[in-house]
């Protein structure tokens, strides 16, 4: 099996989750590598994607697990040659068992540009901090979903829960924009962390799944 870290940029952020999955299926066929299929009536390529992100959110850190016996070192190269322009493979890890990319990724780091600089303690010390949830149509208290918040220069970094419990960065940005102001803020998903705040390498090493 191969665990691929990829980015969704340059327009690909507007490709919805299910269509992304369709693209991966086609990319695999174009790569012409062996891949395992589900054994049902309508067999489909066995791929596992990390949890969906909001449409339009740029990301440098998405994961996909390919259930393939292929273990050539040129996987990344091959993938990038066959993938749509906006979906770029960044790192590929050979693993020897299934990694739960949907369930084991628990937080994500976002880079937010274009917000006015403010004192993050105002947010972090406010146990009642809430954002407007567009889908629920109401304010929600989300302080416990913010793991970290800090400025580097005028760029805001936010580490938010991701996966089963999620805080959408666009909701946070809308709130911060309305309170502190800013100019056309942009969000980029920079990195994700696995269970226990581990990076992918630490996580793979700890779970003993790296194929030698």
């Amino acid at each position: 099996m191969i665990l691929l870290k990829y980015s969704k940029l340059n327009g690909a952020e507007f490709i919805p989750h299910l269509d992304t999955l369709r693209h991966f299926t086609k990319t695999v066929r174009r790569m012409d590598i062996p891949i395992n299929y589900s054994q049902g009536f309508n067999p489909h390529v066995l791929l596992y994607l990390s949890s969906p992100i909001a449409l339009g959110l740029k990301s440098e850190s998405e994961y996909c697990l390919f259930d393939t016996p292929y273990d050539g070192d040129d996987f990344l190269e091959l993938f990038n040659a066959c993938s749509p322009k906006g979906i770029r493979g960044k790192e590929a890890y050979k693993v020897n068992k299934k990694v739960n990319v949907a369930g084991d990724i628990t937080s994500a780091l976002y880079e937010i540009k274009g917000l006015n600089v403010f004192d993050v303690r105002e947010v972090l010390s406010n146990a009642e901090f809430s954002v407007f949830d567009n889908r629920a149509g109401q304010e929600k208290i989300v302080r416990d979903r913010i793991k970290n918040l800090y400025f580097e220069g005028d760029t805001l970094y936010a580490e938010l829960k991701f996966g089963n419990v999620t805080l959408r960065p666009d909701y946070l940005v809308n709130k911060l924009l309305s309170v502190y102001g800013g100019d056309h803020p942009t969000v980029l998903k920079k990195e994700v962390f696995f269970l226990g705040g581990l990076t992918v390498k630490e996580y793979l090493a700890q779970n003993n799944v790296v194929k030698e």
Partner: protein, 497 residues
Amino acid sequence: MKTLDEILLTVERPSRYIGGECGEPTIKKEKFNYCICFPDVYEVAMSNLGIRIVQEVINRVDGAMADRCFAPWPDFGSALKENNIPLYSLGLRIPLKEFDMVGFSLQYELSYTTVLYMLDLAGIPLLAKDRGENDPIIQGGGPCAVNPEPVADFFDLFVIGDGEDSMRELAKLKLKVSNRAEFLQKATEIKGVYVPSLTYPVYDENGKIIGFEGKKVEKAICLDLENAVFPRTQTVGNIEAVHDRAVIEVMRGCYRGCRFCQAGFIYRPVRSKSVKTLTEQACSLIRSTGFDTLSINSLSTSDYSNLKPLLTSLKENLPSYTKVSLPSLRIDTFDEFYAQEARKNSLTFAPEAGTQRLRNVINKDISDEDIKSGAEKAFKLGYSLIKLYFMMGLPTETEEDIIGIRRVIETIKSVYAENPKRLRGLRINVSLSTFIPKPFTPFQWEEFASQSLVQERLEQVRKHLFAKGVTVSWNDYFTSELETVLARGDRKLRKLS
């Protein structure tokens, strides 16, 4: 003012407007920049083979490039307008008005208004006479271009017939001649090119056309389909297209001469490709796109003489996961061999008329016996949903013909009842459309049914066709009426806009 990215976040299906698909032709700005437009949304446009061929033809000309642009959904269209962003091409994101020539594929009459919508969003003057030296040449093509008169005032030129040769010649000419008037004048020398400002109708005192002034235009025909330009690969849509599959064209034209069918007449003569070429094209498409379905297209695929060898050859050469789909199968040639691959849910037959008499009138050469045997074969294979297409308002039609539709349904039902393999109840979907007399068919001067006649027919339909397991649907009268007007009208229609 919002930026394009911010607009994209607020509209439905933003991936329609971003381009960058896998397999899109690699292009850069050249001396001659052409943009092919399809006046419908992304999902429909991406399923069209014609525009892909035109794009390929232009891109193969030295010093020329072809980009593409599709109609935006109204939400994105109005956002573009509000924020003063001109409509742009998908490949290089260049505003439409900066191209040297902008082509529109006219596949159906009802898309004419979308052409105007796109021109408006692009900031290009709608009328040809208002466009100047700095505006692009607006070109039309496709099946509707056979009668371009209703929209003649909006276009600078039309390419009538097959575009393979005429589009290439146009590109070469534009590379040499940049002056607008001179270009249009010289373009008339290319076969298939119609310049409405140089060839125009002459009316008598009653407003009836008595002839045309100017050069007579002849339809362009690409006789050598075998060696005609065909793209090696196909762009895979960002989101699922209506026909999300690889497409090969086995034949152009149709051997049948159904008198109502425009495609059957305007694509004459019938030309086909060899099994070898088709297999090569199919393999190249499937391997480069990753599609798992290949569609074998033509007006009547089962009339292709080498269909069996082709299917065998495809099976041998294509990856094992590939499914082959055969649209446009005819009831009289329906054969178990072809249906093996297809998913067994529904089967479509188009008898078009209920009685043999009327089928003879319209020259649809299938008999009750064909319907019966076609249904028998289909049921043996496990189909339980049959779709039937009929027309209302055909010349010489009477109530007897509506009763005939009932008889066709009864025949199919009785065949199903005799079939021992039936697992579930038979469902029959009957679609009734209003006959539209199309230009360049033998029925072009026939009458379009009046609303009262259609009402009467629908009453008869209610009386005779409503039965258990039968769903009947028909299309809106006004839409058909509009289509008739736009199909048969002349230049005077422009004043209606």
